[in-house]
Each structure stands twice: as C-alpha cells, then as structure tokens.
C-alpha cells in the first residue's frame, strides 16, 4: 500500500491544526496530556471505536481477578484467542452524562454522548445531538491524509441518534452508517477493478466532472444566506474530500464484489461479516486510518444468532433484538437469550480483530498490533442504568456481592503500535473522581488517552469533550 508522497505527508495540516487549538493550551487539564504517547512508527496506526449498542449484562461481562491475572466472563470469553492483545477497563463511566442529567442515560442520551463526551442538546422538534465533535472526527482531522478520512459502518440501532459530529459543525443532522456491503465495496474498492487503462480513464473522468461541479458549489456558497450556507458548505466539504480521494493513488488487492440484496435476517449476518471484513482490508490497505463501527445486531434475529433460541423459548419474538437487551430483568429465558446475543456480538468483534491480526505489516507486526479497537456502549446495561440493581437480584460476579455494575463495557483490542499495555484487566473502579460509583476516569478521558496513543499531539485535542470531565490521562494503560 503506497500513497503519493504529497498525500502521505500530513505535517503541514497537523501543524495548522495544532495552531488552531493553541488557545486551549492554557487550560490546566491539558498539561497532563501534553506528552505524545508514542513516537512515529513505520506502520500506520489505526483507530477503531466500536459501539456495541444497548450495554451488556454486567454479571456476565468479566470474571474475578485483575491485572494480568484475570478471568473472562461468559460475554468476553470469545476474546480469549486474543487475550495477550486485549485489555479490559472497568470503572469507565459517562461523567459528562452524569454531570448534565444527574444519572446515567438511556439510548437517546448515551448515543449522542458516547463518542463526544460533551453536553447533549434537545431541540423543540425533539432532535437530539451533542454540542461537541466526536472523537473519530477529531482524530481523523489530525492524522495524515488517507483516501477516506474515516469510515462509519454497521447498523446503528432502531433509534434515531446522532452519534457522530464533525468537528466544527453542528449536530443538527444524522450521519448514517454504511449498512450495505455493496455500497461499502463500491466506495472502497470499485476503482480497483477492470484493467489499468480503463481504471485511469474513469478516474480522470471523475476528476474532470468534479472540476466542473466544484466551482458551482463554491459560487453558491458565496451567495446564499448565512443559514443556507451551512448546508451548501457541508456538500462542498464532501466534494473536497472526494477530490482528495481521487488524487490519492492507492494500490490494494480488493476482495470480491458482494452480490445481491440483503433482505432477510440470515443474510443480515453475512452482510455484517462482509462489512467488517472490508473495513479490515481498508485499514490494512491504508485507505483509511479511522473507522467507527456501530453494531447492535438489530438487523438480524435472535433465532439466527442464538442456536438454542427455541429451547430457551422466550415469549418475545425473535426479531426484537433491542427488546432482549431490556427484557433481562423480566424472566430467565430472556436473560439467557440476551447473554447468547452478547456472546455472538463478541465473536463478531473477535473475528474482526482476528482478521486484522492475520494481516502482516512487513516489520513482524500485524495490522492489529498497530490498531486499537475500542469497544464500548452507549449505556451500561439494558436497564438504562437507572435502577438499583439489587432490586432485580443482580450480583456482580467479580466481587460476589450485590453492587452496581462497574462501568461501561470497555475492551481495547490491539496495542496501537506498542503505545498501549495489553493482556490485562484494569480495575479503575476503586476510586471515584466524578461522583459516587463513577470510577477513576470518564469515557471522555478514555478517548483522549486513545487519541494520544494513536499519535495525536495532545495539545491539539482541546476541541474535544467537556473540559470539566476530560481532565486526566489514563496513564495506567499506556506503555
């Protein structure tokens, strides 16, 4: 995988962005973040936030033990083949949400917050979103230019959330994940098909058409009112991103183009696998270095992912994936199904990581070694986190005593080029920085720490998150 020297060199852009964020240097919280976590390495470093929607079953998330001497819970056990490349963080909570609402959130609160750690807003027409940029945008803007600045794939949920917010823009629109494997293939790999001459002709033609179209959007942007300009400028920004992607000459062995429609629950599983596989190839080929994977599994059915569904015989219809995440306080059958659904979701995560781990970089490392996949969720549990769990008979298997769950289900897979410690369970739930039971660090601090781990100059990260709950770096997980 190679790029033109001009497109690979992101120094100027990064220097500019660092300058843009300079006014924030005075903020004290940045002092602790000001040291880059890693020096430049040869292989590109990739950043993959993985949003596993609807929380987890805390009693099945992790077993006893900590540090390197930890045991899996049933839900995390599928990660065992990657044990030495994985770390689990307990005690990460959404301090920004607790600060704003005084309690944990639901999907509509956690969704806009999960990647932003900034205050949420609700407009009079019920649209909700975050007031700050999401970490994928912040990181992608500071990484060297690749053909695609970032990818957003998966399935979202059956809710309408705005989880991504581009830096410098308002969260008044909903970026949607790519859910169709054919669409993702065409976006990533269509140009790699055919013979070289035809490919070059199509690329030149695309560039010519864009050259004719761009000035019209520029002219329009200059003459419309301020409120209209925002919409036109978003389109214009998209065109400029396409312009960069046309200019970036990439070489990559594409996979087979998927075929057909994706209706029906069984094909939904195949679609997920294709999406994840193609994303892995795009990361390996350096077509992008940032990918947000949003994965609840709601496009499939419980019967298709839980072989024992009929034996567990819950009363709920198998299509109600979301319902199972909430249903687990009701009756054992629903909990049993939800547990199996979560295990299936972990196997999908693991298979994606294994795919990355199967691709060598040429220096003895694998793509996974130079990536961090950061799994978390928008809520802790399907209980919407608002209940005293003892009321429902929960006991946390780690301490064998009825306690609150110990935070978001955070699993980091991959070492980000050696910047992250792996093979450990970090118990960060023993001290509480932002309130009773909220653990040592906020989820905003997790993102800032990971941004630093992938090589972002911490001083340039001031646009991210609510500063009051993004003060500290999680030194425990850095090498």
């Amino acid at each position: 995988m190679r790029f033109d020297a001009s497109s690979r060199n992101g120094t100027g852009r990064r220097a500019f962005l660092r300058g843009a964020g300079a006014f924030c240097l005075a903020l004290p919280f940045l002092q602790s973040l000001s040291k880059p976590a890693r020096a430049d390495a040869t292989a590109p470093i990739r950043f993959v936030p993985w949003i596993g929607w609807w929380g987890t079953l805390p009693q099945y998330w992790m077993g006893p033990g900590e540090g390197a001497d930890f045991t899996w819970g049933d839900v995390t056990r599928p990660l065992d083949p990657l044990r030495h490349k994985t770390s689990i963080l307990s005690g990460i909570n959404m301090a920004s949400v607790f600060k704003q609402f005084g309690r944990a959130g639901n999907h509509d609160i956690g969704g806009p917050s999960v990647l932003t750690s900034a205050p949420r807003f609700t407009r009079e027409d019920s649209l909700n979103g975050s007031t700050g940029p999401s970490i994928d945008s912040v990181v992608a803007n500071r990484l060297p230019v690749t053909k695609h600045k970032s990818l957003f794939i998966g399935d979202g949920t059956d809710h309408s959330h705005s989880i991504l917010v581009r830096e410098g823009e308002q969260a008044d629109w909903y970026p949607r994940p790519v859910i169709d494997p054919v669409e993702l293939f065409d976006m990533l790999f269509a140009e790699f098909g055919g013979d070289t001459a035809e490919r070059e002709r199509l690329r030149a033609s695309k560039k010519s058409i864009l050259d004719a179209t761009l000035p019209e959007y520029e002219a329009l942007s200059a003459k419309v009112s301020a409120s209209d300009k925002a919409l036109v400028d978003r389109h214009l920004t998209s065109l400029r991103e396409i312009e960069i992607s046309i200019s970036a000459v990439a070489e990559c062995a594409p996979p087979e183009r998927p075929t057909g429609g994706w209706d029906g629950t069984a094909r939904a599983i195949e679609a997920y696998k294709l999406l994840f596989d193609m994303t892995a190839i795009a990361l390996a080929c350096d077509l992008t270095r940032v990918a947000v994977i949003s994965f609840s599994g709601y496009r499939t059915s419980a019967r298709d992912v839980v072989p024992s569904f009929d034996a567990l015989s819950p009363e709920k219809p198998d299509s109600d994936m979301h319902g199972f995440s909430h249903g687990h306080w009701r009756e054992p059958g629903q909990t049993a199904v939800q547990k199996e659904i979560l295990i299936w979701r972990t196997t999908m995560l693991r298979d994606f990581a294994l795919k990355l781990d199967s691709i060598p970089e040429g220096d003895g490392t694998t793509v996974l070694d130079n990536t961090v996949i950061a799994h978390t969720s928008e809520i802790l549990t399907g209980l919407h986190d608002g209940l005293p769990l003892q009321e429902w008979g929960y006991s946390n298997v780690m301490d064998d005593a009825p306690v609150r769950p110990t935070g978001l289900p955070v699993a980091l897979i991959g070492g980000a080029g050696g910047a992250l410690k792996t093979g450990q369970h970090f118990r960060l739930d023993k001290t509480h920085t932002y309130g009773d039971g909220l653990g040592k660090y906020s989820h905003g601090e997790l993102w800032l720490t990971l941004a630093r781990a992938v090589g972002i100059d911490a001083a340039s990260l001031a646009t991210f998150g609510d500063p009051e709950v993004c003060k500290n770096v999680i030194e425990e997980i850095l090498t």
Binding site: D172, K206, S225, L383, H384
Partner: protein, 555 residues
C-alpha cells in the same frame, strides 16, 4: 389558533405532568415564545421566516427527469433525502450531503445520464460534435437552462464545453456527452431549490419580492413536484407573477391540473407517515397473514385516497378525516375485514358502516404503520400520531426507566386493559393518558389494521377520551372512531395543525408560532374554504413570494 384556545391550552397544560406541550413551546410546554409565553401576543405580525435551501425530494427528481426526458422511463430512480421521522421529505435541515451520499448520487445520476444519452449520442445532441464545432455549445444553450431551471450564462457554457473537451480527450463522443450530462445533473442548480438575493425595493417590513421566475419555480414544485410549464413561464414573462393576484390565478389553474395529484400524494402520505408502508414487515409468528402484497395494497389504498381527496371538487379537511369512501381490492378488503363489493383491481366503494370507514383513521396503512412490528402498543403509536401530527402537540421522551416500570403484558387480556394500567401508573400516566386514551377509538382494528369486535375473547371497547387538546369542544368522550373523526373534523385545533403541517411541507422547515404567523392564516383558510384556499394563503404568504432585504443583513 383562536385566543380562546390559547387560554384554554395554557391553563390546562399547566396540569400536565411535564410531558405535553405545543410545537414551539419547548418539550415541557413551558418554554418561551410558544403559545404559553405570556409575553407573546398571538396576533403579533411575526413574519421572520425564509424558505431555506433544500434538495429536491426523491419524487421531484423522478418527475423532473420525466419532464427532461419524456421518452425515457426514470420512475425507478431512487435518489434524494430520506424523510426524517416525523418530518417531511422537503425538510431542508437534515439534508446534509456526505461524501458517501454524493458518490451515491454520482453513480445514480451517471446511470441516468447513460440511459438518457442512449447509444446515439449524435441523436441526443442533435448534431455531430466532431464535425460541428458549435454543436456542444448549441446543445448547452438549449438544454442547460432546462436542467438548471434558469438562464445559462456564458461562463457556464464555457465550463461545460471545457468539460466536454476534457472528456472527449479521455474517451469517445458518447462517454463525453454522458459525462457532461452527469455533471449538469450533479450541479446544485439541478439538485437544490434556492432563491437568489432579490434586487427589488424592500417594503415597509423589509421584504423584497422574488423574481417571477423564482416564484414560478416555487409554485410548480409545491403544487406539481416538478418544474414550470409553458403557461407558467408565460406568466413570468408577462409579469403576472409580480402580483399576488397573478400568483393566485396561476395557483388556481395549477390546482385544477392533474399534476396537483402529486402534491396530494406526497403530502398526505408523509403526513400520515405511511409512505414506507410497502416495506413494512410484521412478525410472522404473530401475524402470519401479513404479506408484501398486503403492504403494497395498503400503499395503493392510501395513495388513491389521498389523490382522490386532493383532486376532488372541494377538498376539505373534514372530508379527509371523515369520508366513508374507500379504495379497496378484494384481497385487501378480505384482509381488513371490510365487506365491499370489489374485484381484483382497486375500486372506489362507499362503506355504510362508518366504524369501518372514517377517513384516514381507517386506512389500513395508517393502522398498521402506527403499531410495533408485533402489532402491539397500537394506542401508544396511534395516540402519538394523533397528538403530534393531528394536534401539533409535543410529547417528551419516556423517562430512562420507563420500560422497567411498565406493567407486565402477561397480566392483562386486552390491549386496552394494558394501556389503562399504564395510564394509572404515575410515572407513565402523565403522558400516556393524553395519547393512548384518544387512540382507544381505534381498538376495533388490530396491529395489522384488521377490523375486530373481540380481542382474546373479550368485546373490544372503543370508547375514547380526548384531553388537553386546546379546544374545549374537542375535549371529551367518544364512543368510536366515527365519533372521534367527526370531532376532529370540527375542531379549529385540527385545522390549525393541518395548516402548520402544510406550511412545514411547503417551506421545508419547522414552523413555530413564535417565528411565523403564516400557518395560522393557512389554518384559518383551511377551515373556511378548504385545501385550495389554504394553498392560496400559502403561496401568497410573505415567506413564499418575498425574501428579506439582504442589505439589512442575511437572516
């Protein structure tokens, strides 16, 4: 909205438990600027609005392509912004184009261009560009203005000629012609609606009348979902559209044209939120009789009903809400449990029993769309639609622990019984008593829209209660869907809200009492004269035919 209903609502809203409000008043009904705001004079001449730039809707793109290429079929082209939940496809604000969606447009419009040019590029251009130097320019000067819906300037001719030459250097005449057409279709002048800053003299309120060409475009896209016809272009040339009388005359003509059916179809289906019913799935274990054919039939029923209403002699809101004329085929009639003498094809039929035929409320698509996939919770979803889209109320989100507090389904026999329990619970009742209780009138239809007299062996009880409507005459108890439909049809609240919906569709943005007074005029015209009068009020309103004077600062 009358002053009486403001007062009624304001006093009663204070009793609601933190979940009810009216659009523009904040979720809790206590925000500023809404009807509850004591500082707001409801008769103040608020008129700050503009029509924002917006992308053509999917339907508009299809109709415009049909007009541009009458001998080709582009009815399969699916492009354009998806309708956000609870909004119209014209709603501008959520139409941001990402690089992914632009590349999708490139692909789709590239395919359109390829089919439009066909195998004979010379025939398409009307000349041979290799032999005739002036060929491409002549084509652009003739065809460009039709694509851009406005005059083509010399710079644009030069830009697209240059593009043609670049593409011809890379490929043959056909691929170069296709590429130029693709670029024209990707232009903002094709894809977006917007107006240029007006250059006339501002009136006392600081507004300047738009050029006739722009008013013509607004009229034709609102009423026909496509560009102006020759008569409308003539009205531009003659200056007829420079006066409200002229605009009114053209709008009256256009509403008698068959193309007005496009408005009726697009607006009514989106208002009812049944435009996606053909893709609606139902849980096969609970509703095994559901099928794609039924879903398509339901879309057809709703479409025919909407068009028949919009193109009738006197389309009133009352007719839309109460008519007992239905459009059914034998398959759908059997599925829905409606006795009708119809054959395989769709036919109009009058159903004497109004509990089986009460306007939009008994459309299969409406009843089936506003429930869950398992067909449950109809009173919540149907009640939510009634409250939000028919009464323009705002409903807050459920509290985070709502689901954990909800009653168990196993403990009840009927849907109504479940929702009555829900309403009794303090954490749920504050909102649900104002939603579910209205929708009990629709309990004679199950989650797939099928008529029923019993549920799980128990007689269905359709008695329903409307509360906190803002209209003392609408608040009350109703025995069944027919009574409820009649009450809504007589209420000014319903007319005001429908006027607000029409305005939001036409303006492509949220309309609130605190920013616009247009929707009140539209609602009043709707109540006194019906849909056509409402549309005339809309198309002659200040935001539609004027713009703020840019010299006084952009809005």
């Amino acid at each position: 909205m009358s002053t009486r209903s403001f007062v009624t609502f304001a006093s009663m809203a204070a009793l609601a438990v933190g979940c009810m409000g009216r659009i523009g008043s904040g979720e809790d009904g206590a925000g500023t600027g809404g009807p509850d705001d004591p500082d707001l004079d409801p008769d103040a001449q608020i008129e700050s609005g503009e029509l924002p730039i917006r992308m053509l809707t999917a339907a508009e793109i299809r109709y415009v392509l049909g007009d541009l290429f009458p001998d080709k079929d582009f009815t399969d082209v699916a492009l354009g912004p998806k309708r956000p939940e609870g909004k119209y496809s014209t709603y501008a604000e959520l139409q941001a184009v990402s690089s992914v969606s632009h590349q999708n447009m490139e692909n789709v419009l590239g395919g359109v261009a390829d089919r439009a040019v066909g195998e004979d590029a010379h025939g398409f251009l009307g000349c041979d560009p290799d032999a005739d130097q002036a060929c491409v320019e002549a084509f652009l000067r003739d065809f460009g203005p039709r694509v851009f819906r406005r005059a083509f300037d010399d710079e644009e001719v030069t830009r697209f000629e240059t593009l043609y030459r670049a593409l011809r250097g890379q490929g043959d005449v056909r691929s170069a012609t296709t590429g130029v057409l693709q670029a024209l279709l990707l232009s903002p002048y094709f894809l977006y609606h917007f107006h240029d800053a007006p250059d006339g003299v501002a009136d006392a309120s600081g507004r300047v009348r738009l050029r006739g060409e722009e008013i013509a475009t607004r009229l034709s896209f609102l009423l026909w979902s496509s560009g102006p016809d020759d008569l409308l272009r003539d009205a531009v040339t003659s200056g007829e559209l420079d006066t409200d009388e002229g605009v009114r005359a053209q709008a009256e003509r256009m509403m008698k044209d068959p193309r007005f059916a496009r408005f009726a179809e697009a607006f009514v289906l989106e208002w009812l939120e049944v435009d996606h019913v053909a893709e609606l799935g139902k849980d096969a274990t609970r509703i095994p009789e559901w099928s794609g054919d039924i879903a398509h039939d339901m879309l057809e029923e709703a479409t025919r009903y909407a068009i028949d209403w919009g193109t009738s002699d006197a389309p009133t809101l009352a007719a839309l809400l109460t008519s007992n004329d239905r459009f059914l085929n034998a398959r759908l009639a059997t599925f829905l449990g409606v006795e009708a003498d119809v054959g395989e094809g769709f036919e109009e039929t009058t159903v004497a029993d109004r509990t089986k035929a009460s306007g939009v409320f008994t459309l299969g698509s409406f009843l089936a769309s506003h429930t869950t996939i398992t067909g449950k919770f109809g009173p919540v979803y149907r009640g939510k639609w009634l409250r939000k889209r028919l009464m323009c109320g705002v409903i807050g989100s459920p509290p985070p622990d709502a689901l954990t507090k909800a009653p168990k389904e196993e403990s009840v026999t009927t849907t109504r019984e479940y929702h009555e329990k829900l309403v009794e619970m303090p954490v749920c009742g504050g909102c649900h008593s104002n939603m579910d209780a209205m929708a009990f009138a629709l309990e004679s239809f199950d989650g797939a829209g099928r008529f029923r007299t019993t549920e799980n062996g128990v007689m269905v009880d359709t008695s329903a209660t409307v509360s906190l409507s803002g209209d003392a005459e609408l608040d009350g108890n109703y025995a069944n869907v027919a009574e409820l439909a009649d009450a809504y049809a007589a209420s000014q609240v319903t007319h005001d809200c429908f006027g607000q919906n029409l305005t939001e569709y036409a303006f492509g943005r949220l309309v609130t009492p605190s920013t616009d007074r247009v929707q009140r005029d539209v609602g009043a015209a709707l109540a006194s004269g019906g849909l056509r009068d409402a549309m005339l009020a809309l198309v002659t309103s200040a935001p539609f035919v004027t713009s703020l004077d840019p010299s006084k600062g952009a809005p």
